[in-house]
Each structure stands twice: as structure tokens, then as C-alpha cells.
Symmetry: C2
Subunit: 348 residues, 2 copies
Amino acid sequence: MSPRRVTLVDVAKRAAVSVATVSRALSGNPQISEATQSRVRRIADDLKYVPNVAARSLVLQSSATFGLMTPDVTDPIHAQVVTGFQQQAAEQGYSVILSNRFWDPGTERRALREFAAHRVAAVAVMGSVLPQAEVKRLLSPSPVLFIGSEHVPASGGDLDMARGCLRPDDRDGMRQVVDHLIERGYRRVAYVSGSSGATQIIRRDALVAALADRGRAEFVVHTADEVDAGGLRPIAVRIRQSRPDAVVCYDDKTALLLMDELRSAGVMVPSDVAVVGFDDIPFARISNPRLTTVSQRADDLGRTSVDLLLSTIERGRLPVSQLMPVTLVVRETTPGPFKPAHKKDRRS
Amino acid sequence: MSPRRVTLVDVAKRAAVSVATVSRALSGNPQISEATQSRVRRIADDLKYVPNVAARSLVLQSSATFGLMTPDVTDPIHAQVVTGFQQQAAEQGYSVILSNRFWDPGTERRALREFAAHRVAAVAVMGSVLPQAEVKRLLSPSPVLFIGSEHVPASGGDLDMARGCLRPDDRDGMRQVVDHLIERGYRRVAYVSGSSGATQIIRRDALVAALADRGRAEFVVHTADEVDAGGLRPIAVRIRQSRPDAVVCYDDKTALLLMDELRSAGVMVPSDVAVVGFDDIPFARISNPRLTTVSQRADDLGRTSVDLLLSTIERGRLPVSQLMPVTLVVRETTPGPFKPAHKKDRRS
DNA sequence: TGGATGAACGCAAACGTTTGCGGTAGAGTC
DNA sequence: GACTCTACCGCAAACGTTTGCGTTCATCCA
């Protein structure tokens, strides 16, 4: 069945040189004459020689492989990051071993150990549920980059960016959202997030801060806890009752899900309430109505991660933190000018 | 910076036994007494020993790793397959190295060579643009499973299933679609696919066949070539003109995209025309209107792929082909009973 | 002609595992 | 007490690379 794969020795024999020469020839080492280089290369091709990365990484003490951990590739935004990451890695000659763990500490730990076992050159993790320190410890000495955000205790806690974190500029994004909303006449703003993670909190706080800056806006929160308990449906009915002018969502998925529930609840978007998302996933532009959202070029995020990791490896230092620019893209869910309902009520 | 990783020798020294014993102890070899086994295990834990898969796969002549090639993880249906595949692989102790190539022969070849270099135990490829024979040759002797469909020459050609192919039962799916459509009164049916690939052709043929079986239905085709040329927009206007009762799409993404274009073109779904998708991606159930589609449990597809690959490895035979069951899920885009417009016209 | 110089290449160790085979010690048998 | 037997463990080869250092041989200069 398997006639043994062809190795360096096979090529060496056929070329009547030593394995050392073959190795050097294939890697373009100038010690080897042009003549033998091309001859060896031709023979290697003839024999369909494929190098054994296991052997190579054994002696090199590290493999040209990145580890990439994502909680859920099924989420379009994560899929985009994965795509960008994978492409850039491939261009730089790296493989990527993927691991998607559904927010479970146990499997996540296993995944990290798996990365360590593979002696990956570096790893990027998005949406970890483990403390940042533990992740680093499990992976040590491989450099780690946290995409999206570092881990944040569910209780809230310290949101400062640590070294080695790459994420979209949520703060600026929310500022743009608020500016847009206020300019179009929306006043009472709600926030709904799908579950209680780090990014959810960061974005909420960013929204609150941006609203506070602009003074005049009222703020209605729908905490994530409620959502975790009963899904988006109860939130939809609460919105029908409390009637915010606009609700900005943690991400597009949440926004789209919410719009569906609102439709079931008989609340019209955007005439009854405006909706804003975050991420600009592909479906945001073809939803009905089309979703206003903050675009964050997720594939660039993946690409930049690789670049960051690469320069970290070369320069032997810890990865530096960085913020990715975002831009608001206005579509149909936030038309203007908007006349707040409660003001209209008072007038009539 | 990196204080050398701990190896078997370190553990052996600390435990005052040989590396052989440590290796056997950690793998639970009964040759080693219970006492030493647990002692070695404890010490390994203490030292935070992580096995080096490179060394292991070097001597074992194969790594516990699967290669998974997908054209585009950004496509929800592919993402689901990847997820299922990855989870099942992890449960069986395998890692998966991912590669998504955007329908490009060159990068695809590179990816396959990468798999070969990693001496993967087996690989699953979905949506290859390379001839099946070439893929197998590049990966030989690793077993290959084609998910979704094997490669089919764009010209059409032989659609017979070869060995080692796992795909949804498109034929049965289309039968269910046609039954549903006819039962609800739809007669003139159109098909639109996003691009001209193998699965696109398979599903079109399946649809045509199912319609032919039921005799009474008329069929209007929109070939993929037109779509490739100008996107979905021209198709939308053609639909506005030719007025089919229903259009069934190659997949949900196409369906959703088309619905967006139809909306732009002023065609109402489903009152003017019904729409049917294929795959049942998450967004199909929250689109507006919600999409009737054929559900294919894509994550199961990924899981089953792993099972198939695994049994192939164990039994040393070629992977067997298999069809995954599908079920129609009726939502809002195909209400009934439907009165064909052209019949109404004749009546009035 | 002798020695130095440098280009081109070979030797062999090392990377961290796994595993067949051989070894040792203690217990049991006669 | 000599023998076998079993349970437990160690030795060492092998997997396919890479690379520091040594070797060879032709060339060049004095």
C-alpha cells in the first residue's frame, strides 16, 4: 500500500552526493555549486520528494506552524479573521493548525497543550475563557497574541490592554455610532449584547462613554445576563415596551437575531426603532432592512496578527499591542431625520 | 528567553528510570508496574512535560493530524463543516491543519504539498478545483476524502460518484423541494447558481430530474455563466421579466443574495416569486422573509468525514462513498397555496 | 615545486520519541 | 541449591533533517 515515502537519502543516492549536499542544495545554500544545485533539484522533483517537516522541526527546535484558536468559526466575523490569518501565514510559509473551542475551559486547555506539543512558532487566540496568564504559561515560551481582546473576568474588572493584544478600535467605533445617531435625531439608546464576554463589556462601556461625552442622550441598558437567561426574545418585548429610539448591538449577529425577534414581536425596524450592529459581516449588507454597522475589516485583523507574530519571533520580543481602525457604514436601519416618539407624544 | 523545553530525558532523570520506561509509563504500557507508572506520571506533570509530536511522528511515520482543505471558511456552510470536523478530530485525538484556498489551482497545489510535508494521517478536501486524480497523487499514500463533491470538469462531464466522496443527498433534497413546490401550486420553476462548480451542476440536474418526474412543471433556467459574468443583478431583472413562480437557488447564500437584488429590483418575495435555498445556514432562519431551504446538517458532514477517514486508516482501505440525508424545512418564502400568475391572467 | 588558499562537498552528531529485544532480580519448583 | 519462570525495566537503533567542522582537490602565487 504505502511504498515508503522518498527521503533525502533517496535523492542523495540518485544524485550520487551526500544527504548534506542535497539538503543544502534544496535550501539554496551558496556552498553548493550552481550545477549540482540544479541537478539535485531536478532529481528531487523527479522523485517527487516532499520534505518531512517533523524531522525538520525536530532539529530546528521549532516548526513553521502557527496555532490559531477561535471559539467558533461558524461566527462570520471569526471566519473572516481565520481566513486572513491563514492566507497571510501561507504567504509567509507557515502552516496553521486550527482549534475551535466553544467557550469551554477544559477543551481550551487541551487545545493549548496541543499547540505546545506541536511546538508551534507562535499562537493567536481569540475569545479565550482562560486567564491570560494561564494561556501564556501553557504556551511558554511561544509568543501569544490575543485577538479581539484579552480575557476579562466576567465581573468586569480591569480592561486595560496588556502587551500582546490586537483588537478593533471599539471606542472609536462607538463614538462614530453615537455621532451618527445623535446627528440623525436619536436620543434614547439601548445596548444589547449576546452574552457576557470581555468584548461585550468593552463595547458597552465605550458606548456609554461616547454617549456621556455628547451629553444630551439618554441611555437604556439591557444587560447581557438577561440575554443569557432567556435569549433575545424577552429583550424584544422589553424593547417594545420601553421604546428606545435606537438599539446598538454588540455585534451584527446579535443585531440580526434581534431584528428577527423584533419582527416576531411586531416592532418595525427602522420606523419603530433603529438598529446598529458591529463588525459588518457579509450578511449585514443584504439583510432586510440592510444593517447600519461598524466595519472592522476582520481579514486585515487576521493578516496583521500574523505580521505581529512574525516580527515578534524575529526580534525575540513580546508582541506589541495594537488597535485596528474601524469605520461606520450607514445603511437602512438608521434613517434620518428621526423624531423621537416620546416627544411626538407630548406634542400631540 | 527559552530555557529549553522539558523532554523525556528530563523526566527520566528525575524519576531515576530510563527514557524507555518513561515513554511506556506515559502511554500506559502494562509492561510497567502501576507504581512506577503513577510516579512517572506525577513527575511528568510536575515538570510540565509536553510530548514533542515532531519526534513522535518521525518514528511513528505518521502524525496524528488531519489536513482539511476548504475553499472559503467565510461561507457559513463550510464553516459548519470545519467545526464538525475539527471537533470530532479533537475527540479522537487528532489535530487538524487548515487551509483555505480561494478556488486557485496554484495555491491549492501548494496546500496539498504542505499536507504531504506534514505527513498527515489523512485529508479531507471540499470544493477542489484540481482533478481528483491529481489530488490523490499529490497526497499519496495518505487517504483522501472529498467532501461535498468530487471535482467535475466545468464542461459538465461525468458526475458519477467515485470512491471516497461524502456529500449531501442533493437528489433527494431537490425531490423534496419539487414535491413541496408542486403541492403548493408552483409551476414555473427557475434555478440560479452562483458560479459554475461541480455541486452547482449536480443540484441543477437533480432539480431538472425531479421536475421531469413530476411531469407537469415547467422549467426556466438561469445558467451560472450569466451570474459569473454580471453577478446576481441581471438575474434579478430577468426574473422580473420572465416571472417564474418560484426560483430555487444553488445554496442559501445565493438565495439570500438574490432576495436582496430582487428587493432592489422591486420584486416582492414571496408574493411575486417564491425562493428556495439549500443548506439551511443559520441566517436562513432569520432572513426577512425567512427562507425555505433544504437542511443538511453540515456539522454532521464534518463529523462523519472524520469517522470515515478514521476507519479508512484503521482498515487500510480506500474511503467509501456515502450520502448524507437532508430534509426540507419550510419557512416563509414559499407560502401556499399559490395561484400561478399566468393562469390567473388567462382566467381573467 | 612547495605551500597556501578557497571552493565544493562529505562525516557525523544531534533533535526527542518509540519499540524490539535482551537483561536482571526475585519468586517458585523440583 | 540449581533450575525455570515471570515481572519489570534498560539498551540502542531508528525515524529524516540540519549544520559545524573536516576533507579533498584544483588553483594560484612565490
